[in-house]
Amino acid sequence: MTLSRRNFFKLTGLGAAAAATPGAFAQNAAPGNAGALGYPVQAIARLDALVVNQPVDFAYPDAASACQLLRLGHAVPGGIGPQQDIVAYSILCPHMGCPTSYESSSRRYKCGCHFSVFDPEMGGQQVIGQATQDLPRVLLELAEDGSIRAVGMVGLVYGRQSNVQFQEVSA
């Protein structure tokens, strides 16, 4: 499964392009290249366990990369699932790596270091702030057994040369 997914992205270049979101900075990347790296496939949570507007912590693509999964209750750009309302992001601010926090009342990710703000309901688009990319997005898929899996990422996780360079470390 992992291998076929990796080859699929490599051969078709559909990783980012097929799931393109309005996230602003993502549009500058050459289409398809986000999927060129070998991302692991990782089960995160079960669909039936998700509560709207309550983030679920997980790490992806390795143990050192903190991410959150969010069910938003209505269709959003890039959302998966029956309601197209499930998304996931790296929660490290792509400006300088401080952990962002999710403010459920306004449904925004906020970074307390330099006050950047991101919108999970709009592909992680930077609402205001100093980053030069949107919140890195975790590409998801819903398996037949009702589990939600991470299968790739769009955007560079803070503090890395490459998103997948630490997989062996984490394994």
């Binding site: 900075f25 549009q27 990347a29």
Partner: protein, 811 residues
């Protein structure tokens, strides 16, 4: 932009490394540009890459500011492929390793024929037969210089109009201001010149200069040392981001208390407080409240245009309370009593005019001017920008503010103080004297009135940056069309024949020949006849100074695209051509006016301009040695071969003949009448300014898909109640209109916006604030861009809400 969104190449340790000051705002953050062969990459170990960062494990927070937007690639003119990475410099005292979202994207903009830069001008372009066609420099300059000479000889210099940059950074700097000034002022001698963002050739700071105080008189460190920071008509988080984040916030967060104790022994010190003067609740206020706590932030939400009354009320109050610096007033100023008399306004009157409660006025005065527990007067820094500069009678407001500052001794060498503009672009001005006097001619009105024969827009676009802009655009377009029609009839004409035809079209038919010298085709150029391609820092060597007068050399690391040239060398080509034409004509006197343009490089322009007029000691070599920290002007001398600068101005004398700063009477006199008439007629005050993610004029941004995805249309912030009443949702397209024009934008509901007010980005792609701006100006022809009132209506759902966040921009 890196070709990958999820990984970046690292520069090898031997990558070519050069210094680059950010192209954009006045803060002038230092960056390093790395360039290395495309087939090479540095290794992840700290010793194996030029960044010295250890990528064998994830970096901790704040260790770096690095993203795919900071990497790009190019093929040079020899056919070699390179990687380029442009990252903020940790060793630069200005930004200390931080990038704003604007400067952080510089690598994405480099001229490689792709992405943003695919839109760059790469050769001169001439319009004829309904099309733009590329031309060589020889043909373009021959046409430009030939028509210029004909008009100069036939009608005199004022037939030649210029819209001209006067700033530093990209599209400016000492090399380019000097070269254009030498050509236009010394050579052509025209007074019909206006500056990039306003309709005449004037200073944004005539008043403070007349009082003996240049507007950039302190250091960024003073913001770390102040007891109180005033932010007046100024939104620093979005507009001077790293000055605010790196130097203001640490003070507000209490992180500079130890520094204050060391500097000011025996004096009561603590975390800084901040006072905002702004009719709008801004993103900066929200951030300051988060950083400093609400109790340490005061927002004086004045009624639009009432700043003069605010400062006069405070001056009157501090005099009554005797919180003034009598010793300083006696020793270093003149005119105090007359100003106090003229400006007298009780707190109650002040409150009635400004709309600020008396208690808030008193609190502001107590924080800022009442002696501290130790008996020392507070160190209060007053920073202002376009809320005053484009305010209701620039000259009067600035006088009233500086009166208050002088009375309380908060300028003149005192650390933690100063009365400073925050600035827009960097600065980099050295020119021969402007021949037009003061007040300068109202050039944009003259154009509308049919005056002038030839208009050159140099690194600016008045279509988006003037008042009464709709009419200005219409007239310029109409007059340019007359010339286009004449060119279209000139089938098969040689350059000499074309000059005859153009001369006839502009002198006999009411035409206007329009040239645009720029990086990209601009709206004002697109209706014209000739475009000349210019260069940016990195493609040329360029010097500028920032808001604390810190001068740096941005070093060239790549060529301009195609046959584009630095502006200073374009001016030199024009000067040389005119010199040759007048020499051929046997007119030695005129030929002499265009002598001295035999420059090979931008360094020659620097040596001719800055070194001959400002400081002989400053050389490229000495600046290069000082890297991204440069030297703060004015230069005092050399110490062991190193340039020594000046941290704070006026420690002993102010810039007047007697060395004393002058108080200037500035009584409150209401709104400028032309603006008042629109206020009486229309329901919404239209505030305007910049937006964090975009550089003011959008000159790169409008070609950048990443920026346009976030801001596909001009931002119009509107409050919740007004939006509900007008049936407007975030993402809707709205129209704003008044007696001067109409414009459009994308609505964004921001709960902090007061009823009866909207805020729009000043110079958008489709929406232009100037379309609504009246012809109200101060005594020096400074426009009251902020004095705009209009009606607002919903045009419809433009589908922006499907791709643009509508969430609050306030932290």
């Amino acid at each position: 932009m890196s070709q990958f969104s999820d990984r970046i190449p690292l520069p090898p340790v031997d990558a070519q490394t050069t210094n680059l000051t950010c192209h954009f705002c006045i803060v002038g953050c230092g960056y390093k540009a790395y360039k290395w062969p495309r087939q090479q990459e540095g290794g992840p170990a700290a010793a194996d890459n030029a960044l010295g960062l250890d990528f064998t494990r994830p970096l901790p927070p704040l260790a770096a500011c690095l993203s795919p937007a900071m990497v790009n690639s190019l093929r040079d003119k020899q056919g070699q492929d390179w990687h380029v990475m442009i990252v903020p410099d940790k060793d630069c005292v200005v930004n200390q390793g931080q990038a704003s979202t604007r400067g952080g994207m510089m690598a994405s903009l480099i001229a490689n024929g792709q992405g943003v830069s695919a839109s760059r001008l790469t050769s001169p372009m001439l319009h004829g037969g309904g099309n733009w066609r590329p031309a060589g420099w020889e043909e373009a300059i021959a046409l430009y210089a030939g028509l210029t000479q004909r008009l100069l000889d036939a009608e005199g210099p004022d037939a030649l109009l210029f819209n001209l940059f006067d700033h530093g950074g990209a599209g400016g700097g000492y090399e380019n201001t000097w070269a254009t000034g030498k050509l236009i002022f010394s050579g052509l001698g025209t007074s019909m010149v206006r500056i990039h963002n306003r309709p005449a050739y004037n200073s944004e700071c005539h008043a403070t200069r007349d009082m003996g105080i240049n507007e950039l008189n302190n250091s960024y460190e003073d913001a770390e040392l102040a007891d109180v920071l005033w932010s007046i008509g100024n939104n620093p988080y979005e507009t001077q981001t790293n000055y605010f984040l790196v130097h203001w916030l640490p003070n507000l967060q209490g992180n500079t208390v130890a520094k204050k104790q060391a500097r000011f022994p025996g004096e009561t010190v603590g975390p800084g407080r901040i006072i905002f003067v702004d009719p709008r609740r801004t993103a900066s206020i929200a951030v300051a409240e988060q950083a400093a706590g609400r109790d340490n932030v005061l927002h004086l939400a004045i009624n639009p245009g009432t700043d003069t009354a605010l400062f006069n009320g405070l001056l009157t109050y501090v005099v009554e309370q005797d919180w003034i610096d009598r010793e300083f007033i006696a020793a270093r100023t003149s005119g105090f009593e007359a100003a106090v008399q003229a400006n007298r306004l009780s707190l109650e009157e002040c409150s009635a005019i400004t709309g600020v409660p008396v208690a808030q006025l008193q609190q502001a005065a107590e924080w800022s001017y009442r002696p501290k527990a130790s008996g020392h007067r507070p160190r209060t820094m007053h920073a202002y920008e376009k809320g005053i500069i484009w305010g209701n009678d620039n000259y009067r407001i600035q006088s009233a503010l500086v009166d208050l500052v002088l009375a309380t001794g908060n300028v003149g060498g005192r650390r933690g103080a100063g009365v400073v503009r925050m600035g827009g672009h960097q600065e980099g001005y050295v020119r021969p004297p402007f021949p037009g006097g003061r007040p300068a001619p109202f050039v944009d009105e003259a154009v509308i009135a049919g005056q002038g024969r030839m208009l050159t827009a140099w690194a600016c676009d008045a279509f988006r940056s003037t008042l009464n802009a709709q009419q200005y655009r219409a007239v310029v377009t109409k007059r340019a069309a007359i010339v286009r029609e004449a060119i279209d009839q000139a089938r098969g004409a040689s350059t000499a024949e074309l000059i005859d035809i153009l001369f006839d079209a502009v002198t006999n038919k009411g035409g206007l020949f329009v040239t645009s010298i720029d990086l990209y085709p601009k709206p004002i150029g697109e209706i014209g006849h000739l475009m000349l391609p210019a260069a940016v820092p990195g493609e040329m060597n360029l010097t500028s100074m920032n808001g604390e007068r810190r001068m740096r050399l941005s070093e060239k690391f790549m060529d301009p695209p195609g046959i584009a040239k630095p502006d200073c060398l374009i001016a030199a080509e024009m000067g040389k051509a005119l010199h040759a034409l007048y020499t051929q004509a046997g007119n030695a006197a005129m030929a002499a006016r265009f002598a001295g343009f035999d420059w090979e490089s931008e360094e020659d322009a620097f040596n001719d301009g800055f070194r001959q007029n400002e400081s002989e000691l400053v050389t490229y070599e000495r600046l290069r040695a000082l890297g991204n920290n440069g030297v703060q002007l004015p230069v005092q001398g050399l110490e062991n071969g190193v340039l020594v600068g000046t941290e704070v101005l006026y420690t002993e004398r102010f810039a007047t003949e007697d060395g004393r700063a002058r108080f200037q009477p500035a009584p409150w006199s209401g709104l400028l009448p032309i603006a008042q008439a629109q206020k009486d007629k229309y329901p919404f005050w239209v505030n305007n300014g910049r937006v964090n993610e975009l550089w003011q004029t959008l000159y790169n941004d409008e070609h950048n898909p990443a920026r346009m995805a976030r801001w596909p249309a001009t931002l119009v912030e509107i409050g919740t109640a007004d939006a509900a009443r007008l049936g407007i949702a975030s993402g809707d397209l709205v129209e704003l209109y008044n007696d001067y024009g109409s414009t459009q934008g994308m609505a964004h509901i921001e709960p902090g916006i007061r009823e009866g007010q909207v805020f729009m980005m000043a110079m958008g792609r489709q929406g232009v604030m100037g379309d609504l701006a009246t012809t109200a100006v101060d005594e020096n022809v400074l426009p009251y861009y902020k004095g705009t009132w209009a009606a607002v209506r919903r045009l419809g759902d433009a589908a922006y809400s499907a791709s643009v966040t509508g969430k609050s921009r306030h932290y």
